[in-house]
């Protein structure tokens, strides 16, 4: 792979047109490796005989052009560009015996291997999807036998259920902000449940506030929630005809009592 070869490549008109087409399409690539694979096709040789140096140049040229056209490239494209620039310098300079690590040739060989492997995987995915498929080209029995009643209950769950169940438990805390803090909230159901039992004893008019459960009248937040729940529950009970409700004047205590039986 000589430098001249590469110059010729880059300067050819068709090459440049191809490169421009690529730039327009930059979103269509699945990352740097995909782009490199596409660029390598312009060399029109077997992937095993590809010139990695030329490819590096092509890629760097591509990035340069993108920069020129002010197309913003994702970070991984730039990382690849930096790496290829490094590779290029290794390939061009005579090897320094004192230097640690793999040689430029080894790195280039690995990149060629990656490209060949990616291409191979693409080829076999196409072959796989081109196969006859169940439910499209060949079919299973349409009418599964309905069998006699010798029932045995079998419980099923999929691995997905299991993992999601576990995830649900383990992530409960993380998502705390999204759920109501149940500690200081009394629900209508709770209040209703409680008052239904208590109301049997309330033959006389009693202040609704006296129905607050123990431990709910101190802390303002809890007190507020319990009051609201009790009030709503009282309205509910009044509606069903279980109790009567009255208030002397605005802001005065609200009182309730069991509806006389007569």
């Amino acid at each position: 792979m000589s430098d001249d070869d590469f110059q010729a490549d880059v300067l050819s008109v068709s090459e440049r047109m191809a490169a421009e087409a690529l730039i327009v399409d930059v979103d269509g690539f699945e990352g740097p490796l995909d782009l490199l694979l596409t660029l390598s096709r312009t060399q029109k040789v077997d992937l095993r005989k590809i010139s990695v140096l030329a490819l590096a140049e092509q890629y760097l040229g591509f990035v340069e052009k993108a920069r020129h056209l002010r197309i913003e490239l994702a970070a991984d494209y730039l990382v690849m560009a930096a790496w290829l620039a490094f590779l290029k310098s290794r390939l061009l300079l005579p090897p320094d015996p004192s230097e640690e690590g793999p040689s430029g040739e080894e790195l280039a060989a690995h990149l060629a291997f990656q490209l060949e492997r990616l291409q191979a995987m693409r080829d076999v995915s196409a072959r796989l999807m081109g196969r006859d498929q169940l439910g499209r080209d060949f079919f299973a029995r349409g009418q599964v036998e309905v069998v006699e009643r010798r029932k045995r209950v079998s419980y099923t769950a999929t691995l997905l259920d299991l993992m999601q169940g576990y995830a649900r438990i383990r992530t409960r805390d993380e998502f705390r902000p999204f759920v109501m803090d149940r500690e200081s909230v009394m629900t209508l159901e709770e209040a209703l449940d409680r008052m239904r039992h208590l109301i049997g004893f309330a033959g006389e008019w009693t202040d609704i506030m006296s129905y607050l459960p123990e431990g709910w009248s101190g802390d303002p937040a809890r007190r507020r929630s319990a009051t609201a729940a009790n009030f709503a529950a009282s309205l509910e009970l009044a509606k069903t005809g279980a109790i009567e409700i009255r208030q002397g004047e605005t802001f005065s205590p609200i009182q309730i009592r069991r509806k006389p039986n007569d």
Partner: protein, 216 residues
Amino acid sequence: MTDETETEDEAQSLFEAPPMGEQERMVEAVLFASAEPVTVAELTARMPHGSEPAEALVHLRKRYEGRGVTLVRVGDAWAFRTAPDLGYLMHKESVETRKLSRAAIETLAIIAYHQPVTRAEIEEIRGVSVSRGTIDLLIELEWIRFGRRRMSPGRPVTFVVTQGFLDHFGLESARDLPGLKELRAAGLLESRPPPVEPSEDDEDEDDEGQSELFEE
């Protein structure tokens, strides 16, 4: 005029009905795959022009005589049925499958991930008490069993998952269950807030994927 007739003839030969053996195969395949019995009219409509499914059905019926499966007529339609004398082989098929309750799934998941684990520990993780029925059901399903007693006060029993559990869930070992990070990476954490841009294109998510990739 003559030209047209010729063309017609050609068309005729182009659409010549397939040989009877081939028609028999077609009827066989269609009846097999269909969820309902199929009428002759339906067969005619599906098969190549000129086919005679009624005749193919006669051959096919003969072919399946005495086999484990027979071709039967249901009203004016046709269907394959297993031979009546083999009905006893089908009994085991009659299992009613029920989805495991959420409580049971969660309990099972905790045992799988934390085994050996005591009942109190399960309750602590789930935040609610575990009903007896749940544990009993899981034991009955042979998905969990008693492990060694814990060497702590009260020496509580522990629970572990069984080989049957691994078989059912297609796992090689309980240690192969993915961890939380892996679950999240695979998009299996349902309680996660939805992605900002629900786009069709998978690749849009790369950036996010990247950062998670390096957390692993």
